[in-house]
Subunit: 164 residues, 2 copies
């Protein structure tokens, strides 16, 4: 298992990575977006042990991506529903999927095709600038320290020369 | 360590996850996008053992995200440069970072602010439909089996009711 916690790093990628915990978690979330809600259905959908599944679901509830909601009183049974925070993570999975479709399809085309019901076209998720809506690349983006960067680390961060 | 390989799953998320291997890998790639190229600089930038770092870099070279290029003849020394495949992964990290900024900033604002030099505005990475350029959510997207989905698994996949 991972030895280093990234949760307190002043980096939103590291914080997201820390919550995800390991790579089962994005696949569990993928199942949520396919409509899976119940423990036994997750277990059937993924080759994962009950133990690991229970732990990952608990973490997703604790971190606020899933709600654990009763769907039966007798016997008492729960299902997992995505919160707004969880639903918004879908866009990260969509971006990951588009990259995988482009680079990991083995020349066979995408295994899954996404269709945007709003505009009624097949589509790939595309990552754009929130202001100009043009696709962005690392070359066109500069980073600078933001309000959430801890004061005590600013001098050290600036010394790396990464931040304007 | 992870026991299950996702590389052959008919799912671009799972395949991407398999390459990434563990969560150090996105952080190593993050450093690449900050301009880090050399082993010692990665080691200084991340609290990672030389052993794990060497293994993750080797995997990224093997999978085609990084090129290992000599920068000195005597002594022979190498640096790691992102390939086109590697550079395009930046958009996945940008989407992950935007999600983390929104949900994991602890009320302090983003630790790092991104500035789009093309349009000269601060921005958040936004995931949109490649056709209509509107932001997408899981509710507006349907999945169906694509050309890369293995024939032998189609019946089983359709039986899950996930795919139109």
């Amino acid at each position: 298992m991972r030895r280093t916690s990234f949760a307190r790093w002043p980096c939103s990628i590291a914080r997201a990575v820390d919550i995800l915990g390991d790579w089962w978690t994005p696949l569990i979330l993928r199942e949520v977006f396919y409509g899976v809600r119940r423990f036994d259905d997750f277990e059937q959908a993924l080759p994962i042990s009950r133990n690991v599944l229970a732990q990952r679901l608990r973490r997703l509830v604790d971190e606020g991506l899933l709600d654990r909601v009763p769907y039966s009183e007798r016997p008492l049974r729960f299902e997992y529903q995505p919160t707004e925070m969880g639903r918004e993570f879908w866009s990260v999975l969509a971006a990951m999927s588009a990259w995988g479709d482009r680079w990991l399809d083995g020349g066979k085309g995408p295994p899954i095709v996404l269709h945007h019901t709003e505009c009624d076209h097949d589509m790939a998720a595309t990552v754009v600038c929130s202001h100009c809506r043009q696709p962005i690349s690392a070359d066109d983006v500069q980073s600078r320290l933001g309000p959430g960067y801890p004061d005590r680390l600013r001098r050290k961060a600036r010394a790396t020369g990464r931040f304007g």
